[in-house]
């Protein structure tokens, strides 16, 4: 990171109440980064129309989230939206584009082609199965193509990830707000035991319960 933000945490944390200063600096930096994500115009196939253009147009407006300035050059872009299929021939170019972006750079993989190769997984000799095999991806937006609203939700998730996950104490590490965070101190065999119970319960369909009485009593009301 920059000159100040590199060694500021070390100094401030020793001072009383310094930790609070660091988090407030984090807050300012993350707030400014999250609310002005400039996407790079990088669309390969169908997702480009739906995610980049339709979301950028006036109906599903990206401007409400500060992301409507679609910069053509990676030098001025913060957000690389991989919209469409990544193919073996494009992989080194995608890597170059990602490397040439200015440092706090984020990647959203939209569409099942960018997430896992999508409809082109089987019997295709040139489709890379997922953009995350080439560049680190922050947010995945599923869909083929995803609706513009889905992309907007992905953008909001990325903004939450930036605000909650980044700090100048760990400059190049972003903590993903994993929703189902495991409770601390849980051991592996506890998980295995619980998994066994779940699998056993799911493997039998119990029709003798109240679902059956409900059927005879009133007939299917729905």
């Amino acid at each position: 990171m920059g000159l100040v933000t590199n060694n500021l945490p070390a100094i401030l944390d020793r001072l009383p109440g310094g930790g609070f200063c660091v988090t407030s600096i984090d807050g300012i930096i993350n707030w400014s980064r999250a609310n002005s994500l400039w996407p790079l115009t990088f669309g390969t196939s169908c997702c480009a129309i739906e995610v980049m253009m339709a979301a950028g147009a006036s109906r599903h407006d990206l401007a409400r989230f500060g992301a409507e300035v679609a910069r053509p050059s990676p030098r001025q872009a913060d957000l690389l939206v991989v919209a469409g299929t990544v193919v073996k021939r494009l992989a080194p170019r995608l890597k170059t584009l990602y490397e040439q972006m200015a440092e706090p750079r984020y990647v959203i993989a939209t569409g099942s082609c960018a997430i896992s190769g999508g409809p082109f997984i089987y019997n295709s000799y040139s489709t890379v199965r997922g953009a995350d095999q080439i560049i680190p991806v922050d947010v995945y937006v599923p869909g083929c193509p995803p609706r513009p609203e889905a992309f907007l939700y992905g953008l909001l998730t990325l903004q939450k990830l930036i605000k909650a996950g980044e700090s100048i104490r760990r400059p190049y590490i972003r903590r993903k707000p994993v929703l189902a965070a495991l409770p601390s101190g849980m051991t592996a065999d506890q998980i295995r035991a619980e998994l066994a119970v779940l699998l056993q319960r799911d493997s039998t369909v119990d029709l003798s319960g109240e679902y059956a009485q409900n059927m005879q009593a009133g007939g299917s009301k729905q």
């Binding site: 669309g43 390969t44 196939s45 006036s58 469409g84 021939r89 019997n123 040139s126």
Partner: protein
């Protein structure tokens, strides 16, 4: 005499010759995979002398997923799903081409209701595709507001498609034997509302961009494609018609219910960027005319003539069926060995041929004209690479 294939590096080395100290040296510029005006990942290797284009070498393959190889492992119904992703701006017409090829080969007969619905959806799709082209065309010439106007009206058509087919862009709607679902109850009402809404908007397009003197100056006389070159390069659709060749499959083969409706084919005069622009605007008007003649007389009947789970087997042989999409003629060539899956399937892509007309038009013009030409050809890259 052995034939030795060359590589791109040899091609570039051939272009880098220096005549004399006084002459201006030419250099290569990549209008590369990620470029705002190439509508996708198309790379134009341009040999420049100062600002003047000496030669354009299109390099494609950046979104080549091998759909023809995958076609050999999929049944005909499953391949329809992939045909959407070729030219995703005219997805329904892509489905129709493959479905019709299968129906003609397997002898599945189609009732009038299905034909009318298919023709209506194809014409709506043409309008939707031209709206997007018009918006992006304005954006390429620097007028960003045209993009917003174009997309505002395109959303209305997208809603109509979403009601009937369930998807906004890749519909997977036309299956061999009919259409996936019957049209939405208020499909007719919405289409009429759209036509009434869009007609004045089309005049607004004319005043907003067509009447603009800068646009006229940038388009008239730029990128002239002679009829002979257009036919020899195999361009089809608006690019061919703008060069003065009145070839439209909707008239010559009259598939669907095109035989029963009156419409005329806009044909350009000089074959420059302005004619290609004007031809597409005129085509939107003709599409509105076709829809008006059809929207009130959709005949009754089933929307699918065969069971959705019926197995489709094509008798052994070679079948070829082509159709006029928004960008040109899309052809489906199926070689069947009697099984459920095609032995070989090849798709004649309109954008593939239209793209190469750039190499004929661009030499001698400037970089800004090259952007105008590329946008006037309206190229969709996954359709080139397949």
């Amino acid at each position: 005499m052995t034939i030795r294939p060359i590589t791109l590096a040899d091609r570039i080395a051939a272009g880098q010759k220096v005549e004399s100290l006084l002459s201006t040296q030419e250099y290569f510029v990549n209008m590369g995979p990620q470029h705002p005006s190439t509508h996708g990942v198309l790379r134009l290797l341009v040999r420049l002398d100062g600002e003047t284009v000496r030669e354009v070498i299109p390099v494609v393959g950046y979104v080549h997923r091998g759909i023809e190889k995958m076609g050999e492992y999929l049944t005909y119904r499953k391949f329809i799903h992939l045909s959407d992703r070729l030219d995703y701006l005219s997805a329904i017409t892509n489905n129709w081409v493959v479905a019709m090829a299968v129906e003609k080969a397997a002898g599945i007969e189609i009732n009038d209701r299905i034909q009318t619905i298919r023709t209506l959806c194809a014409e709506l799709q043409r309008i939707q595709s031209h709206q997007l082209w018009w918006g992006v065309f304005g954006m390429d010439l620097g007028a960003f507001t045209a993009f917003l106007y174009g997309f505002r009206d395109r959303e209305v058509v997208t809603d109509i498609f979403e009601e009937t087919t369930g998807a906004r862009l890749t519909m997977n709607y036309i299956q061999p034997g009919g259409v996936m679902f019957d049209i939405h109850p208020d499909f007719v009402k919405n289409v009429k509302k759209f036509l009434a809404y869009f007609k004045p908007k089309l005049e607004e397009y004319e005043t907003l961009v067509s009447g603009n003197v800068i646009v006229q100056a940038r388009l008239r006389g730029v990128g002239i494609l002679s009829p002979g070159a257009a036919v020899s390069i195999g361009t089809t659709g608006p690019v061919l018609r703008a060069s003065g060749v009145a070839h439209d499959l909707r008239k010559s083969e009259a598939y669907g219910v095109y035989g029963k409706v009156q419409f005329d084919i806009p044909v350009g005069v000089k074959g420059d960027c302005w004619d290609r622009y004007w031809v597409r605007i005129e085509e939107m008007r003709q599409s509105i005319r076709i829809i008006e003649q059809l929207i009130d007389s959709i005949p009754e009947g089933k929307h699918m003539t065969i069971k959705p789970t019926a197995k489709i087997k094509l008798p052994e042989g070679l079948y070829y069926n082509q159709m006029e999409t928004a960008r040109g003629i899309l052809g489906a060539l199926i070689v069947s060995d009697g099984g459920e899956k095609p032995y070989r399937i090849h798709l004649r892509s309109p954008n593939f041929n239209n793209l190469w007309s750039v190499t004929a038009m661009a030499p001698g013009l400037r970089i800004a004209d090259l952007v105008a030409i590329l946008s006037s050809i309206d190229v969709v890259v996954p359709d080139i690479d397949r």
